[in-house]
Symmetry: C3
Subunit: 347 residues, 3 copies
């Protein structure tokens, strides 16, 4: 069992900076998830055969390949394999769709499994290891772009780098210059054709974000225009620091359904951080009702619909060596409660 | 085709022993498998369209990730991808379910694709590269915990690290202190729910092993208690050395069906080793018959049922560089004969 | 985000040359594909819901494992994972079937996902990064062993290393001595047996190539004998250099259907290369018509059948650092036009 130890701080130097390389990195996380949507007591109204408390885990292995041309352009690509378990349903892993890029100066062209301009905008995700609550994000109700519970396609309805799937197969341009950042993304789907007959028109998604940093503060605007009903978005975020406090505000108009969020976190001592958030989302508006996107009166399992407040608290303790203890609790606007605790480590 | 050579004896040192790392390792093996259950002569009673002699091969690529916290706890994970061919049916590979662990001192907590306490008990598997006979284990009839042929779920009916699947998604605790070792494992399945109705109750498996080493000898006891009928097990093993001879005895009560095994191996010269084994398993008992686990009179293909003796011989020759020649022949209690020979190499 | 940089020119030395190692390499390529077979205009006769111009991309990650025995035999294996997008249908990646080998002196035994003697013969593929035209090969009409368009199984109907599948699961022997090279490959399929009844007989493929190099010129002969109708092949190639010009001639008898090819390329300045090719293939002969392999009058989509000329032009510009700009256009004998341009980089 002799093995190579590829330590993450080692750098095997080469004569030329233009040499191609492969970087291996990733993270592991595992812990327990309490989810009041699950029950393995057959007498419970929400019985689904899954214990309320299950293991949540993910192992991500990531490969980053790149080279630099004589002209100073970096050409590269990334792909990942990640094995996950949620709700006691473990999975193996395949590699996701690849993202390719060419970058020079502050300019980057991305192709394939793109990041996406909404996904990549500053101030959208939580400042935690999972980018959500607890160990696995706990539903990501903290995002102002996710509304009205996990129904009617209003969750993650934007182009985003897919870690376990193939992604948008789009094109994107990122640009940064000093305090300014911009990001434009585009993708289109093929029409669905069955037996020579079109059964669905492939839609386009185009999105942009613009951001500006002034001192400790960053403001960002994101817009998405989609051929698919209910996917147009306008997003605004402002994030910054007030001494040891991190403060963030976010707002999104999700094709007529508003959602606001306020987020705060503070360091406690040398190794701890506590984060709090509250979001408030509207009920579906007349337009969404007309489009059938109204979930107020739809009961999905024991879900009463998603309008109202979501709030959560998260605690992180740095264990050193790239590892940390993470715990979080969230009550979401669709009356779901999740509590998670476990460890996270990078490599 | 410039490439990095990651040699297995190299260690890229880092300033801190706490740094995270990824280790890449694995093995390849390939050879020929003669199996009298296969036949591509249409006139044979056991015709199944597969040649009696086929390629057997496996390529395993394994990633071990770990880091150490400031408090001296090692956090880590493992996953593998392995491509296999048996019976001329080659396969590609995906990553299996991940096993996570936290260890400190002699104590280890495992989560996910756990090893399992029966699987991990000392003295269960053969002392060969495949842990069975020949190149690919040749059916693993040598294990006292595998009884009554490949029918009625009596093979590999315990929680075990799955190299090609997702495993048990369980929890386990391993402890070692001096000569003593202990291992406790637990897993549970979700209920099967179809259209809101429970169609199957998810079962628990709990297992434990305890072992003690005195001089050249190790004795181990393993127990499994399962909600699934026929899976309760009591296993005893004793293994040690008598000069150049390795000797091992094993016994298991497989929910009423006894199986005994005796195993011996000896080094010949500097590079060779010969291993012999005989096992004897009972016919199904009254309990198993009542539960429908009796295979004595069941003919599966040309399988007459599994009671009686299995025996085998294995030869290994060390080729140097982590490679070896491996050959083995086994006649199992269900009248199957397999002969395999080929090479094995680690990296 | 500390990462290991595994630079491609680095060699981590070991005390013994016999040490096992793993080499990681691969390439990325991405660009645009214009294909007149695609149309997302519903009024077009060739409407298929896919835009005429789409992203074509591939990311290949390859692992080569090997060790050397004390006797000087190299034992090794290779497998790959590659994610691809063609026609706006992106994919993820799994590992392909493994190829194992043992080599000593000029002799190599290959097992599993073999290269194959037709696939591996000198002078068959184009001298480009994709081994075909443009970014992704653009249909590989340049090969004299691909005839009569993508119908009736006359494309890639020989054993070849499969990058995304499991391959032939065969055996092969390669031998080279000075100017001479030889390659013999064999594979067989299992019979298809449904409910104990044979529904299809598994066929054998045996192939051989012989090559000889004299000065700047290499001549090669390839033969394939297959149990499957239409797969017998005789292939001849001659390739060499006339100053700055590369010249190649190829001919194949594809079980009665002849195809000729002439290929030329020249360096322009320090970094550019232009390549041209023309192939001419016969209509199906009487034998192929009798066997139902005649595609002259078969219309598949807007495909009029494959007899006649295919021709193409390819341009490559070396960008340094293992990267290049690649562009190509091909008009194939079945009236398909493809134009592709993009970048290619190795790592």
């Amino acid at each position: 069992m002799k093995k190579v130890l590829f330590a993450t701080t080692a750098l095997i130097a080469t004569a030329s900076m233009a040499a191609a390389d492969v970087r291996i990195s990733g993270y592991g996380r595992f812990g327990l998830d309490y989810n009041d949507r699950n029950s393995n007591k057959i007498t419970d109204p929400n019985y689904n055969g899954i214990s309320e408390t299950t293991i949540t885990s993910r192992l991500r292995l990531q490969f980053d390949m790149s080279t630099e041309t004589d002209g100073g352009v970096t050409l590269g690509a990334r792909f990942r394999a990640q094995a996950e378990s949620r709700d006691n349903a473990p999975g193996g892993a395949v590699f996701n769709g690849a993202r390719f890029y060419a970058s020079v100066g502050g300019f980057t062209l991305g192709v394939g499994n793109i990041i996406g301009a909404i996904e990549g905008m500053p101030g959208l995700y939580l400042e935690t290891k999972s980018a959500g609550m607890g160990i696995d994000g706990a539903g990501f109700h903290s995002l102002v772009t996710n509304v009205a519970a996990n129904v009617a396609g209003q969750f993650f309805n934007w182009d985003a780098y897919s870690s376990a799937g193939v992604g948008a197969n789009g094109l994107e341009v990122l640009y940064s210059a000093g305090a300014f950042g911009g990001h434009l993304s585009y993708s289109t789907d093929n029409d669905t054709v069955v037996g020579g007959v079109r059964t669905a028109i492939g839609g386009d998604r185009i999105a942009v974000n613009l951001s500006y940093t002034f001192g400790d503060w960053t403001a960002a605007l994101g817009l998405q225009d989609s051929d698919t009903i209910g996917e147009d978005k306008t997003v605004l975020t402002v994030a910054g620091k007030l001494g040891q406090f991190g403060v963030r505000l976010a707002y999104a108009d999700n094709d007529g359904i508003d959602k606001f969020g306020i987020y705060g976190n503070m360091d406690i001592g040398a190794a701890s951080n506590i984060l709090l958030f509250v979001t408030s989302e509207d009920a579906a508006d007349a337009g969404a009702i007309a489009q059938g996107r109204d979930n107020r009166d739809v009961t999905v399992g024991n879900d009463r619909g998603g309008e109202g407040e979501s709030y959560g608290i998260h605690y992180s303790y740095d264990l050193g060596g790239g590892a940390s203890f993470e715990a979080g609790a969230v009550k979401s606007s669709n009356d779901q409660t999740q509590v998670q605790a476990g460890v996270f480590f990078t490599f």
